[in-house]
């Protein structure tokens, strides 16, 4: 019996022969990726491109079986290809250690594959690959696992739902002032330590201005923002002295003493909040520091409360919300494992001092900015200590290193078994797709049901309101440096702005033809570049606006009558590169009419209903779905088409009309 005998017998001669010539793109060489690569090789796929941006970490080894301890810190894609490649020399594996968002992975590149398999761990990349596959009309199998749960979803344009057809949860976000001045939960402190303090001291020095401007626009307190500007500026001085031996005390004094004292000076802020207390580095290390009693704000009210409920009626601390995790005791609390130990104030200070020195030494030796990585022990030590010290200032419960890791790293439990099951299912669906056996493809769920470990559902047609897969995608070869937005728009049948180019001769006598041009909004991602009333961008080049190869122009009909036209930017053919700004496709495909989401019959109650679902709300129809979609999908954001008064539009982002603080800082 030959080596491929089984595969040939079970797959059939034709499919087996087809596999040898099939070009498959595997995005991700992590838990699912390793399993998939193995199963693809064994099944007989002939050409596999495997792409991953990550390097190998020790915590990968409990499931990513193509990696060994000696491979730690090496690029995943390269090691995976190397380890697996020796198994089947007949297969060509092309490993790429890169980010899938890079412009070179453009529409033409995606079109070169027969099938794409996603083995990704983040929403942004999943949505991106989904969009590229829809645009290139290449079948995609999407997948994901979390602990014992997993999911596989085959995606074929116009036949099935795409990954964006159903709204996805948005990342949790917090207002700037909550993070920088008035934290009230452990997670606020961790976000501050990880996204703010870490990058201020060791990361890419970023410009805060944009963030502050955004915060002001969202109605955050201007005095507070002004203070934060001062605080941020002082970091550049600290950064330059990081290599001095007393760096820990310099940093500590700034953030836990000077900054806290400055905040305390803003008395208005503490009228209804318990103010923080400053810490003293020298005193703590000398073990002579006594944590002062936190002053309670406001006046004591008299009620007939029993002693039990004194705190509730006597104290007023604004906006405190306890993090979910502090309520659920860790199952390992009694295990005695070292990083599950509660850290005292002194422990945290020691951990702070040592991690600052370790990180400073690393940065000095490489002179490269560092970025937070949950599996980088120095970085995690730093975030644990600094978050806990901040929590102590504000009277917030502290967290163990183990808990901080889970919260800061958004750690999802992962095991080999679920990944193995999922990879088997992915290849199975891929085989169905390659055979075009669309009646056999299924979405599959691995779940914890003792009666049925796999859940299976037949494919659902695309959501008619989907903002991704109902769009019409057109490859658009161009030179972004010389292509002018207005010219591009006119070439695809969109009118320039009405108030634009008054001195332009051409416009003095519009032709009949031009009057048939339609009006539209133009977006790149979430950025609104152009709208009929505000057309100055029409004179700019695409490159000037940051629209380059690999990106797309989304043309949204002003009246919402037809679906979006998406121009996917590609390089011009080599012979036309410098001469032409762009080449318009000979025949633009027709744009189908847009199906409008049903307009809710009564005004929606505030956004609260979007956030929480009441488990017992029998018989209530979820009329928020269509609206939620507009807000949450990762790709283009659509202009409102109906006359809903519940929306206002801001910078191309639709915001539900409520007074919620909006997304400012993201916890990845």
């Amino acid at each position: 019996m030959g080596r491929d005998a089984y595969a040939r017998a079970i797959l059939g001669k034709d499919l087996f022969a087809q596999l040898g010539n099939t070009r498959v793109l595997l995005v991700g060489a992590g838990g699912i990726g390793c399993e998939l690569l193995k199963t693809l090789l064994l099944t007989g796929f002939g050409h596999i491109t495997i792409l991953d941006l990550d390097t190998i970490d020790l915590s990968n080894l409990n499931r990513q079986f193509l990696f060994r301890k000696k491979d730690v810190k090496q690029p995943k894609a390269l090691v995976a290809a190397d380890t697996a490649g020796s198994f089947n020399p007949a297969c060509t594996i092309e490993p790429i250690h890169a980010d899938i968002f890079e412009p070179r992975f453009d529409l033409a590149w995606f079109s070169g594959f027969d099938i794409v398999l996603n083995a990704l761990d983040n929403m942004a990349a999943r949505l991106h690959v989904n969009r590229m596959c829809i645009a290139a009309n290449v079948p995609l199998v999407e997948s994901g696992t979390a602990g014992y749960m997993g999911q596989v979803q085959p995606i074929v344009k116009d036949r099935t739902e795409c990954f964006a057809c159903l709204p996805k949860d948005t990342p949790k976000t917090f207002p700037v002032c909550t993070i920088r001045s008035t934290p009230s939960t452990p997670v606020h402190c961790i976000v501050w330590a990880k996204t703010y303090l870490f990058s201020k001291l060791f990361g890419e020095s970023e410009d805060d201005d944009a963030e502050f401007a955004e915060a002001l626009k969202n109605g955050e307190n201007p005095t507070e923002i002004a203070e934060l500007r001062v605080e941020a500026a002082a970091f550049s001085a600290i950064r330059s002295s990081l290599s001095s031996p007393n760096a820990p005390s310099l940093v500590f004094d700034k953030i836990y003493n000077a900054d806290i004292n400055r905040l305390l000076g803003m008395e208005d802020m503490w009228k209804s909040r318990t103010p923080p207390v400053p810490l003293d580095y020298t005193a703590i290390r000398a073990r002579s520091f006594v944590l002062p009693e936190r002053k309670k704000p406001g006046t004591v009210k008299t009620t007939n409360a029993s002693t039990n409920s004194k705190a509730l009626v006597n104290k007023t601390v604004n906006g405190l919300k306890n993090g979910k995790r502090e309520a659920n005791g860790s199952p390992d609390s009694a295990s005695g494992l070292k990083d599950r130990k509660e850290l005292s104030l002194e422990d945290n200070v020691e951990l702070f001092a040592s991690s600052v020195q370790r990180l400073a030494a690393r940065q000095a030796s490489t002179s490269q900015p560092l970025s937070f990585d949950k599996d980088d022990d120095d970085a995690l030590d730093f975030v644990t200590a600094t978050a806990n010290l901040r929590a102590i200032c504000y009277g917030i419960p502290t967290k163990t290193r183990w808990e901080v890791k889970e919260m800061a790293g958004n750690i999802i439990p992962a095991i080999a078994t679920t990944n193995a099951m999922i990879s088997g299912m992915i290849v199975l669906q891929a085989l169905h797709l390659l055979k075009k056996a669309y009646h056999l493809i299924r979405s599959v769920y691995v779940r914890k049901k003792p009666h049925s470990p796999l859940g299976t559902s037949t494919m659902v047609p695309p959501n008619p309101y989907c903002a991704i897969c109902k769009d019409v995608y057109v490859p658009f070869p161009c030179n972004p440096e010389i292509a002018i937005l207005g010219d591009v728009l006119r070439a695809v049948g969109v009118a320039k702005a009405e108030d634009e180019d008054d001195d332009d001769d051409e416009d003095m006598n519009r032709t009949e033809n031009e009057k048939e041009l339609r009006e539209a909004y133009v977006y790149e991602g979430n950025r609104l570049l152009f709208e009929p009333e505000m057309g100055e961008n029409a004179k700019k080049t695409l490159a000037y606006m940051g629209v380059t190869w690999g990106k797309s122009l989304i043309v949204t009909d002003y009246e919402g009558k037809v679906v979006n036209l998406v121009l996917v930017l590609l390089p011009l053919p080599p012979d036309q590169g410098d001469i032409k700004p762009f080449v318009v496709p000979a025949q633009l495909p027709p744009l189908p009419s847009r199906v409008l989401p049903p307009v809710p019959s009564e005004p929606l109650t505030p956004a609260k209903s979007l956030k929480r679902s009441a488990p017992e709300d029998e018989g209530e129809v979820d009329d928020t779905r269509a609206i939620k979609r507009i807000r949450t999908e990762g790709g283009a954001v659509k202009a409102p088409t109906g006359k809903e008064t519940n929306f206002r539009e801001e910078n191309g982002v639709l915001i539900l009309d409520d007074d919620e603080d909006d997304n400012v800082i993201q916890l990845d």
């Binding site: 019996m1 089984y6 405190l320």
Partner: protein, 560 residues
């Protein structure tokens, strides 16, 4: 020069700092992602496990890969066959350069590379010979996985494990795995299996339908009308629900709302307590309103477990979990609920108030724990042990707390035999495979899992008659059809073979007993997952025999 000196100072400074607090060891870091699923207790159970896998085919090595990676203690592959060309094509842990060598040895050496801390052993004897000459060999393992053996050997192995066990509780768990093309089957034989933590997704009850006295008193003491708007917006939802329900009970003879209309009415009265209409704590309370009318009860599975003879008739040799269960049955006789688990969910309130509430719940949980310990003392004395010995019986305070936390998720599964058991051995819940099939047939439907199972049986019939796998030929298909008809006729079914059966027979013939990569990947994951559940005693195992049908991308279970 100055720079060098400075750099050196840093290095020295770094070295002199005491080793960082709480840095986990390398093992913890390697297993970080799985420890978050089964904790260190589960990991310890894995690390002390000795696993035997019989035969080194693709599904076997796929399964073992998923057990070696998370760090089982030791594994043995028992296989007397050499590596073939076909093996090297479908098995990632067998290579072309190993062709002709021992399959067990080759597979063990490649699998062992995955994890230094796992010991691998190859045993090149024939399973038949071992069953014949050294049946006690099998009793030395923690768990056995038998892949693609003949039904006859499966039966003998199952029998050897049953007769070798001194009590059903000590029976070595056996997993029976068969694969053919896109089909697979996973059966189990277990003596008695206790799940100490089912990891149920249902959060523990706060018992708000009947708040404990201290909570009720706390809620009563809060006069909502006297609070300013900030305080009012920070009254935790637990308190709001207790107050709303108390008002309701006063107007309704102390009864909970029962009908849908009553529940809605109570919810409306909660809404009416708002001041502005957008208070976040009220939003939460409304979302949690069901807790007011959901009566706190002892879960039915727990109740059934408590009346089981293994609990009611414990002996001094019973594992500690049975002492706990007996104590629990005493506890629920006095109370109609399980001891309180002091986990308070997330809520919009002040930190101080949250801590206060948490203390209330902790204090109540401590009171109930002491009552439970009284029950435990009674249980200990009933089996003539002394309460002073509680620590050595595994009934210390820490274990008590752990049990109370998991009490709702404790399960005990009674023995499940594999194979052609004698009629006298069949227990009420333990149906003979063919009988179960017939039941399905007589109900007028033969679901696909049963059809696939029948096809596996017929394939085995074919093999024992012809000493080869069926081929996708007219003649072999005909033979398979004859076996299926016979088996069904023996059970009194004389109709035409259902289409699900003929389809399944066709696939079995097409598969020629092959172990294909997609099926091996999925089955290997599923089998390893179940093995981990048995070893860690965490999470509820699959019930019955599991059928994998990858033509339809699905799994099903049969009730045996």
């Amino acid at each position: 020069m100055a720079q060098t000196a400075e750099a050196k100072t840093i290095e020295e400074a770094t070295v002199t700092i005491v080793s960082p607090q709480g840095r986990p060891d390398e093992k913890t870091r390697r297993y970080d992602r799985q420890l978050r699923l089964w904790a260190s207790s589960g990991q310890a159970a894995l690390e002390s496990a000795r696993i035997l896998v019989i035969s080194g085919g693709a599904t076997s090595t796929s399964t073992l890969k998923n057990l070696v990676l998370p760090g089982i203690g030791e594994f043995t592959i028992l296989d007397h066959l050499p590596v073939t060309y076909a093996d090297a094509g479908n098995n990632f842990f067998l290579h072309v350069n190993g062709i002709g060598k021992s399959r067990a040895e080759e597979a063990v050496s490649h699998l062992a590379e995955l994890n230094d801390s796992v010991k691998g052993k190859a045993d090149t004897r024939d399973v038949n010979a071992v069953l014949e000459n050294e049946p006690e060999f099998f009793l030395s393992f923690t768990l056995i996985i038998a892949v693609n053996l003949s039904p006859e050997i499966e039966d003998r192995l199952a029998q050897a494990l049953r007769s070798g066990a001194s009590t059903p509780r000590d029976t070595v768990p056996l997993m029976i795995v068969r694969t053919a093309g896109f089909y697979a089957m996973i059966g189990t034989q277990i003596g008695e299996h206790t799940v100490v933590d089912a990891h149920s997704e249902t959060p523990p009850s706060l018992r708000l339908d009947n708040a404990f006295p201290a909570l009720l008193e706390y809620a009563r003491a809060i006069d909502l009308d006297s609070l300013d708007s900030t305080d009012f917006g920070h009254v935790p939802w637990v308190v709001l629900l207790v107050k709303a329900l108390e008002n309701w009970k006063q107007k309704h003879d102390g009864q909970l709302p029962k009908s849908y209309a009553e529940k809605q009415e109570l919810k409306k009265s909660l809404e009416k307590m708002r001041r502005r209409g957008d208070e976040e704590n009220f939003d939460e309370a409304v979302a949690q309103a069901y807790r007011m009318w959901t009566p706190t009860v002892v879960p039915s599975e727990t109740r059934a477990l408590l009346s089981d003879p293994s609990v009611t008739t414990i002996t001094s040799s019973s594992p500690s979990i049975f002492y706990f269960l007996l104590a629990l049955s005493h506890f629920v006789q006095q109370h109609s609920y399980l001891p309180l688990v002091p986990t308070l969910p997330d809520m919009h309130t002040t930190t101080d108030t949250y801590v206060e509430l948490q203390n209330l719940f902790r204090a109540q949980a401590d009171r109930e724990m002491l009552v439970f310990e009284d029950c435990l003392k009674r249980a200990v004395e009933e089996v003539h042990e002394t309460w002073e010995e509680r620590e050595s019986l595994g009934l210390g305070r820490a274990e008590v707390k752990e049990f109370i936390r998991n009490a709702a998720g404790v399960r005990v599964f009674k023995g499940k035999k594999w194979g052609s058991v004698e009629p006298s051995e069949i227990e009420a819940s333990d149906q003979k495979p063919v009988t179960a099939l017939q039941n399905e047939l007589e109900s007028g439907m033969l679901p696909a899992p049963a059809a696939v199972y029948l096809a596996f049986l017929c394939s085995a019939d074919f093999y024992s008659a012809h000493a080869r796998q069926p081929q996708p030929t007219e003649a072999d298909n005909q033979l398979l059809t004859t076996y299926a008809t016979q088996r069904l006729a023996n059970g009194g079914w004389n109709g035409e073979l259902p289409e699900t059966v003929t389809t399944a027979l066709g696939e079995i013939a097409r598969a020629q007993g092959s172990d294909i990569p997609t099926t091996a990947a999925l089955t290997g994951g599923l089998v390893a997952q179940e093995a981990i559940k048995f070893l860690t005693r965490q999470y509820v195992p699959i019930e019955g025999t599991c059928i994998v049908d990858l033509i339809r991308s699905t799994t099903g279970t049969l009730p045996f």
